[in-house]
Symmetry: C2
Subunit: 367 residues, 2 copies
């Protein structure tokens, strides 16, 4: 038996239990911790990142905007794969920023989210954490049957993650797993792709699609800053993707119409130059959930979509192939109930959007 | 023009604008505030409550458990009705407790949520607030066409609300609206009914059902404490309901099986004594989202449901009529994705649960 902290020994004694009694009742095994920075996470397109849980290469600093660079440090979409037969899985992780947003939970902003491969081959949800401090330790799974399983651990969406450790009881097996080798979906977008306001990191639209298609996803969502600047278009085009999803219009709708058109055309040309045949999904912006009552919001959707449509048609006329246009009107549903704040989807909106994109992705990935 | 605060005048001057210039660009009208404590909210079953935004009568103190009494001070399910033709609606409200939970947003715990009656008669979402402090002021709607509309303003789910004011620009019309007179759905339950983890106050299952059926709902959800004690059963039975929904099993599953059975039978008998023909919906507990991997959670669901089923069958054998039994297995969906933490539904789980209950309620309300 290993030493008990003095305060705990006192507590047990004062409750009429000796430390030895307590030990008999629930023998505590040592936790063996595994530092996830020792193997590569899925969802990270580059190796030369400024930190292990960061999304853009160091050389992008100074080329992308300061805001994009700052947001690229958020661990959105990064997933640690591992295998274990442990009945209990502990997590201990550290983030550097605010734990929550008013319209987004700490679990989503700063928490971890665990899925396991079920016997039928599907990824099924297993556990999430409820961070109350920047350093947070939790039994994320407690009482599983001790079979070997593959796990995916999604990292915090809207925080910089500085450390992730996975703990299993002494004697349980544990193996780091390298990220899947398949070409990833590259999902470039705004706060919505980034994950606001998923209740937990596994419930972003890109993450849901990744599980349903059992394929890796690169989340390049940058809150408020998915704007297809040339530097970002160039970085997106570097990735050897299975499909590119471009979901930037919710941020670009604040630009002039001709700028929306120009950036969209240039971004798609940059991708096509390097990837002549890779499918591209060009998404309209989601409808504001209160656009029905606020004419200004309705107009903003309409104007942005018209400008995006011009880009799509210009490229088609130029002979650019393989671009699928997805309309935005019902991405979060047809009842205005899919958002927390008009703009940002709850899990309901995230899920509905995934349901719309799933058949589109299946089709273009099969072609 | 009314006086500008000195700091604002300075700010405008330093930006090269005179106060008169700013005034020309965006003439600021005075806000006329309406204190919502001046008329009764919907969702409150009793008038003799200890505060305007509280859910149980004063005489319940000392009869219900301390925890239930404390939680009854939360404004879950209370809705302020009003009419206005204002293009801008301001809200200013105060809560007394923690703004958020790790797995629930401040918008849901402490925020306001606005719906408007659309021309087709449906309630459609219009705006929500993002509280950052206990006293929070916000333009919850900005830029509506200036038509007369009915509005519903849902109050915070998991906080004690001490004050709610609704502001409209000087010159706009405003009318308090009394709560609907129809018999309410009485929804008695746990944290799930109470609203954890809806992203905003309008997204609890009871609230969704209320809008879809266009009927008032009394939310008697008490986080961790929906346990059908005799005192609570008596209070529930006081209400002249259109239907009673009993959704307490997620909290009662920690009780012994025979206690679950006994309390359920006694609660339904108490209701039947006063309401011989009012429909009663008896709900099983939702499946834990990770019950597939955690045998203990699976067993907990199974044991509790068996005990509930005994109560249902005993009552049926006694000749008690009008009790509809709803199974719990798929209340939040069939894919384990409907919760934030295994137990508490996100908006996705809340919505799916409402979709299951809606046809049941429609049927029993028609009979």
């Amino acid at each position: 038996m290993h030493a008990l902290p003095a305060f705990l020994a006192l507590l047990l004694l004062s409750a009429g239990l000796s430390a030895a009694d307590a030990s008999k009742k629930a023998p505590q095994k040592e936790i063996v911790w595994h530092d996830a920075s020792q193997w590569k996470p899925a969802g990270r397109a580059w190796d030369d990142t400024p930190s292990h849980y960061s999304r853009l290469p160091q050389r992008a600093e100074g080329k992308v905007t300061k805001a994009v660079w700052r947001l690229s440090r958020n661990s959105a979409g990064l997933v640690v794969y591992f295998r274990t037969n442990a009945p209990v899985i502990h997590t201990r992780h550290e983030v550097s920023g605010e734990l929550a947003k008013p319209h987004m939970t700490a679990t989503g902003v700063s928490g971890l989210d665990l899925y396991a491969r079920a016997p039928n081959g599907q990824w099924r949800w297993a556990g999430s954490s409820k961070p109350k401090n920047k350093i947070h330790e939790e039994k994320i799974l407690n009482g599983a049957t001790p079979e070997w399983r593959d796990y995916m651990l999604y990292l915090p969406l809207y925080n910089n993650t500085t450390s992730v450790e996975i703990g299993v009881p002494e004697g349980s097996g544990f193996e780091p797993v390298a990220p899947p080798q398949a070409k990833p979906i590259v999902y470039y977008g705004t706060s919505i792709a980034h994950g606001c306001s998923a209740s937990r990191p596994g419930m972003t639209t890109p993450a849901i699609l990744g599980r349903k298609l059992d394929t890796p996803v690169i989340n390049l969502g940058f809150s408020g800053n998915g704007k297809m600047e040339p530097a970002m278009a160039g970085l997106v085009a570097e990735i050897d993707a299975s499909v590119f999803v471009l979901d930037c219009l919710p941020n670009m709708s604040s630009l002039a119409a001709d700028e929306i058109t120009k950036r969209t055309e240039n971004c798609i040309r940059a991708i096509r130059k390097k990837h002549p045949a890779t499918p591209i999904i060009l998404m309209e912006d989601r409808s504001y959930a209160n656009a029905w009552i606020l004419p200004r919001q309705f107009k903003k959707n309409e104007t942005a979509r018209a400008a995006l449509r011009v880009a799509y048609e210009t490229l088609a006329a130029e002979g650019v192939k393989g671009v699928t246009y997805v309309t935005g009107g019902q991405l979060f549903g047809d009842d205005d109930e899919g958002t927390v704040d008009s703009s940002h989807p709850s899990d309901l909106g995230m899920y509905r959007q995934a349901e719309i994109l799933l058949p589109v992705l299946k089709r273009v990935l099969k072609e």
